[in-house]
């Protein structure tokens, strides 16, 4: 497994991602499953460390609306790479709620989808697929770099843009 964040692999991940019944450590950044986060919300408020939440595909944001801007990490899961629900969740977080913290994709994160994820506002990808990790390390990712529609991340207009309000480019980055 490897964590790819803001354009490179990082060795240190300060976050602990807890299951439904794992004990809460006394300190340090933790991310909790959505239901648990909501249930323990009041107790968590007093913690003096960054908070995160894990949202499964299909869970959506209902019930979290008022918490989003005190979160430092939102983890969205991709149980299968063909399950596209959390692309929408990501964009809603970034665009409607203006969420600025880390947005991490986990699960079936594969090389042919990476740019779609980044464009939808993910800035961190937790990758278990060895081929994808190797391809990223070796710079062997071959994806279309021009786009016909705006999405969540800030993207430059391509050089030919004049008068095309929606054209974007990912040239020079993943």
């Amino acid at each position: 497994m490897a964590l790819y964040r803001n354009g490179s692999f990082v060795a240190d991940d300060p976050w602990r991602i807890l299951g439904a019944d794992e004990a809460l450590p006394a300190e340090g950044p933790v991310a909790l499953p959505k239901a648990r986060f909501i249930a323990e919300r009041d107790g968590l408020a007093g913690r003096n460390a960054p908070l995160g939440v894990v949202i499964e595909a299909g869970e959506g944001l209902d019930g979290l609306e008022d918490d989003i801007n005190r979160l430092s990490l939102v983890v969205l899961t991709f149980p299968k790479y063909t399950d596209g629900r959390n692309y929408s969740t990501a964009r809603i977080l970034r665009e409607r709620f203006g969420y600025r913290g880390e947005l991490r994709a986990i699960g079936n994160v594969l090389r042919d989808q990476l740019r779609f994820m980044l464009r939808c506002g993910f800035d961190a990808l937790e990758i278990t697929h060895e081929g994808t990790i190797a391809a990223l390390r070796d710079g062997r990712i071959n994806l279309v770099s021009l786009h016909y529609q705006p999405a969540s991340r800030d993207e430059a207009a391509p050089p030919t843009a004049g008068g095309h309000p929606w054209r974007r480019s990912s040239a020079g980055r993943l």
């Binding site: 929408s88 071959n142 279309v144 529609q149 309000p165």
Partner: protein, 553 residues
């Protein structure tokens, strides 16, 4: 016609390279067939019974001679010398080698074509009225909006892994020639009382195993908000569409299970939010920029009546018949819209050989401002032909077996590939279409019967649109034998309806006779030749047909 600029060209070129890389990984074994499948589908590559099939996008069915010649070349070089035009205005090659697909895509890219999103669970090729820009009854050119939607939906980062495929169709006339009400999103361009342009919007139509007619969610959506609204619909669908059962995954099921009022509220809420941020609100200049590509060609000022045309009609029965069925009124005086039937008696519906494609390309170049259209009824169209020239066009078509005067008649049959090609099929479709056409080959008899649409699917997936056939034929498997179930009274136009099953199915030997019985019953009971099959069925109901079909059973 839309023309690529440097950006569009580079986009398609990069997509070809991306796919080449994916194919290489499949061929090297790095990707399993399971992992590769969604990737190849996104680019129109299916694995069929005998070979790979490649489906090529023909956005809103518009071609020119250069593109059509390239398709002919691909047919000859990489396939068996023919291609198959589909009900979604695309073209399929049925005998393709996977390793050659990247080369084919490169050849397509050179003429500004591709196979992007012609299958897979994404927004598919956007279809439109095949008479766009030519029809006497349209209020705008629907292709302008289809092109805007095509661009917006291309490799959309949020909507590439939808629960299921997603189809959009656009018309701009009251007459619906694109079956918009059986699409996930159906759009009709219209004007409000203030004279502003906008859209009536239907959602949740679709055929397949649970056919449903779309529900209207907007009577008037302002033109500038087309993309904001479509993004809202797609987002609601992406988040809430069912993913537990692929047969219940289309938008139609979500609309049905949730209720159209609640879905409409969800869409409106999402829309308000997207619109408030304004990123997708279309500037007038951008609409004008796209519209300029579809500017009408330089039509000549001609008298409405052409004496050459009238003389040819008087001289030749066969030309007069052709005009009666295959020439539609053009918006500009002195021009006509010519339908080229790909339904010669006995031929597989929708197939065209490389030579036929080249001939049609020549005719388009010479007589139709270089434009050709693909209709969802699997015919081709020369949209802008001078009436003076139609006799010459007819003569050239006739030599290539392309002048069958049967548009809209009983032998203008839609049929899916069926068991001859498709791994999902229960029964053959093409041979049934051929046998029905042979039975009704007599053109006088066809004229007597009048407008009658027969549509055939080889299985419940309904690629042949049988649910909206006036007579629909569905292939089913009965204990290993091919059987055919008949539905009556379907229609894919503005009076959209789903056909009703008349009774138990017919064997392959019986099915043509059953169709004939239905037709004879109609002829016996109609109020006169002006009462079409569909109107008569709507008046009479299915009882007399059922009686006639099952009388001795």
């Amino acid at each position: 016609m839309y023309r690529y600029d440097e950006f569009d060209r580079q986009f398609v070129a990069e997509r070809v390279e991306e796919f080449r890389d994916q194919v290489a990984r499949r061929l090297s074994g790095e990707l399993t067939e399971d992992e590769f499948k969604p990737l190849r589908l996104m680019n129109g590559v299916y694995l069929q019974l005998h070979a790979y099939m490649l489906r090529i996008a023909i956005p809103y069915g518009t071609l020119n001679s250069r593109k059509l010649r390239r398709l002919a070349h691909i047919a000859r070089r990489y396939d068996r010398g023919f291609g198959h035009f589909t009900t979604r205005q695309n073209l399929q090659f049925n005998w393709i080698k996977l390793e050659e697909v990247p080369e084919i895509l490169k050849e397509l890219a050179e003429v500004e074509m591709h196979a992007i999103q012609t299958s897979g669970n994404c927004i598919r090729n956007v279809s439109a009225d095949h008479f766009a820009g030519a029809a006497a009854d349209e209020i705008a050119d629907p292709r302008v909006y289809a092109e805007i939607l095509r661009q917006w939906s291309s490799l959309h980062p949020e909507f590439t892994f939808l629960p299921r495929k997603f189809k959009i169709a656009v018309v701009a006339a009251e007459a619906d020639r694109a079956a918009i009400q059986v699409h996930d999103i159906g759009l009709q361009v219209k004007r409000n009382e203030a004279g502003e342009t906008g859209f009536a919007v239907w959602v949740g139509g679709g055929l397949g195993r649970t056919p449903m007619i779309g529900r209207k969610v907007r009577d008037f959506l302002p033109e500038a908000e087309l993309l904001s609204y479509c993004e809202a619909i797609l987002r609601v669908y992406n988040m809430h569409g069912r993913r537990d059962n692929k047969y219940k995954a289309r938008l139609k099921i979500l609309v049905h299970e949730t209720g159209v009022d609640e879905i409409a509220r969800d869409i409106e809420a999402e829309y308000e939010d997207i619109r408030a941020r304004g990123a997708l609100t279309m500037p007038q200049e951008e609409i004008a920029r796209i519209r300029a590509y579809f500017a009408p060609p330089a039509f000549a000022e001609l008298p409405a009546r052409s004496s050459a045309f009238e003389a040819a009609k008087a001289d030749s029965r066969s030309f007069a018949r052709f005009v009666e069925r295959n020439v539609a009124p053009h918006r500009v005086p002195g021009y006509g819209i010519v339908t080229i039937s790909l339904k010669a008696i006995g031929a597989p519906p929708g197939d065209a050989t490389a030579e036929q494609m080249e001939l049609i390309a020549d005719l388009a170049e010479r007589y139709s401002f270089d434009e050709v259209r693909v209709s969802h009824e699997q015919n081709l169209v020369l949209p802008h032909v001078r009436l003076d020239d139609i006799p010459a066009v007819h003569a050239a078509l006739a030599e290539a077996d392309l002048a069958t005067p049967n548009a809209g008649l009983v032998t203008d049959i839609i049929a899916c590939p069926g068991l001859d090609y498709c791994s999902l099929a229960n029964a053959r479709s093409i041979p049934v279409a051929q046998r029905i056409a042979e039975r009704f080959a007599d053109i006088e008899r066809q004229k007597e019967i009048g407008e009658l649409k027969i549509k055939i699917s080889g299985c419940i997936n309904a690629c042949g649109h049988h649910h909206v056939g006036h007579i629909g034929i569905l292939g089913v498997d009965r204990k290993g034998e091919e059987f055919y179930q008949i539905t009556l009274g379907g229609s894919g136009d503005e009076t959209c309806s789903i056909g009703e099953i008349v009774g138990k199915g017919f064997s392959s030997d019986e099915v043509v006779g059953a169709v004939e019985t239905i037709v004879e019953t109609y002829l016996r009971l109609r109020e006169g030749p002006q009462e079409t099959f569909l109107s008569a069925f709507r008046r009479l109901g299915e009882a007399p047909f059922r009686e006639a079909l099952y009388a001795d059973a």
